[in-house]
Symmetry: C2
Subunit: 332 residues, 2 copies
Amino acid sequence: VSNALSGKGRVSEALAFKVREAAERLAYVPSPAGRALRTGRSGVLGLVLPDISNPLFPQIAQAIEAAAADAGYGVLIGDARGDVAQQTAAINRLVRHGVDGLVIVPRRGTRISGLDRPVAVIDSPSTPGNTVAADHWQGGALIGGHLAGLGHTHVLVLGNTPTSNVQNDRIGGIRSALPRHARIETLWIEPHEAAHGAGAPLGLAERVAAGVTAIAAVSDVLALRALTELHQAGLRVPDDVSITGFDDLSWSSAISPALTTIRMDMPRIAEIAIASIVAVLDGRADANAGVVPAVGPAQVPMQLVIRRSSGPASTRISPLVSPIPADGAGRC
Amino acid sequence: VSNALSGKGRVSEALAFKVREAAERLAYVPSPAGRALRTGRSGVLGLVLPDISNPLFPQIAQAIEAAAADAGYGVLIGDARGDVAQQTAAINRLVRHGVDGLVIVPRRGTRISGLDRPVAVIDSPSTPGNTVAADHWQGGALIGGHLAGLGHTHVLVLGNTPTSNVQNDRIGGIRSALPRHARIETLWIEPHEAAHGAGAPLGLAERVAAGVTAIAAVSDVLALRALTELHQAGLRVPDDVSITGFDDLSWSSAISPALTTIRMDMPRIAEIAIASIVAVLDGRADANAGVVPAVGPAQVPMQLVIRRSSGPASTRISPLVSPIPADGAGRC
DNA sequence: CTGAAAGCGCTTACAG
DNA sequence: CTGAAAGCGCTTACAG
């Protein structure tokens, strides 16, 4: 019966047909437990994230789930809830549930080594190890090139985690594509401040008054914060200042003005990550061969999405009015 | 050995200790496959969503994962990718992977019946069946009451899916808590229009010019769209018009002004959903007893989060300037 | 070409 | 109180 259903063994077509027909009629579904016990494979992969509440999580989870499903695997989620110490616990939980392999989106300090099953890491290319990633530097260069093409020569870069490989790659890329003579300022916003939001205003209007014509944020959330703060101060985007983001979060096209941003090819990244794990499981690759040689480029290009939040710097005149205080006093 | 480790059978303390010690030393982890085959339980639950890219997904997934982990279960994700037809396929995939039970966030048309394992549905209380949900109506009433308390008597309600139980509950609640004499307009934005974003402006500035003093959106994304559109038109929030949202998405506290919104108690909802499934699995409840009698209230209260995007209507004077066209012409 | 048997690792009655 | 055995459902050598 097993051979007939799987088509593996040598079973006459007539018999195979009868078996399939009967299986259909009885709505037979093979027991995953029996199969797992016999084959030593659960058919389930784990997806470990530092923090599910990260706004990028939906893109990642959706792509991984789709790629895994295409390969016949299920996806078990593990969440470290923003706590580095929990990351190991989350991984162990997945291992206890019998995952065949793991896709891990690490935070600094995540211990990955020592696992006895294949792992693919999704992070920045600057991260050493078995990694597949969007080419954040190249994505940054797209932003830099876009702004340069619009004539911007005084750019404020907005980041919030100076220790993040991803953010540093993005910023490096942005700088690399702006003209040599361009003036580039960098403003780091404390992570907890960004998280707790309401936080102090970033003083962006003053920067614009001082000559900044474009603000390049390393994330859409940061760009949104900048946009609303500038709006609130009475400045107009992109007329008074251009803004760009990163990530192409779902709302980035719905706001006014729609946000110019960078989209990563998450389906492709997921496909590579899953393929590399499956290759090891199928014995087609060695566990420490790494993602790259097993499947293909481990650095996936990003894509520029141009929307209305960025415009030419050339036609712009410096603001006629000085920035308007947040309380609205002095508005006409 | 099994008895010693689980502490179930009758094993002398001395022997049990020796066994545990040896297990520790060998880093023994029980095979989930062996256990699953013997017990008929995989220890894994499925989480089925109509669309992972829904911005509420992180909140839901995080809460479900945490509640399941607390109960010793893993969570397998299933995504219908926004396609009703795929919902059944996603459920079947999870069943093939051997989940013991399912948490389902349904879309209209989802066929749930006919499953041979416990299911908890997370939706609106208006949905019939084995449901646990936030009390969206009560949440709406919190918004209505808040706006009423601020003196608003001319409110524009923003929705995007007239057929959604959740949205209708929210809107019903909002209306119910506004004073009888209040003027309430409702504007439905086509879902695809909301999705594809950039779409036509909603004409919100005109509504404000016509007397609307508060805009109550059924979601934070819609509120964000309204906020940026009004900002872009040169209006100020909350000085010229108050805005409220729904969901308390992660960025809602980071924008300017921070968004007044409604937060659902997702951890509590997840806990109830998981507990109801586990109760059935443990034989402590009947499969068709439903979520309610098994565990507790299936309607979980929501919470109002007051932030700067909403202010008193009373101190407000009608706009001195007529709405400014999007191109910025005519600005001082 | 087909059928019967072994064994994956566990848990739980059951025998001693 | 402890040890030996059965059996969950599958797949894959192996015997016929």
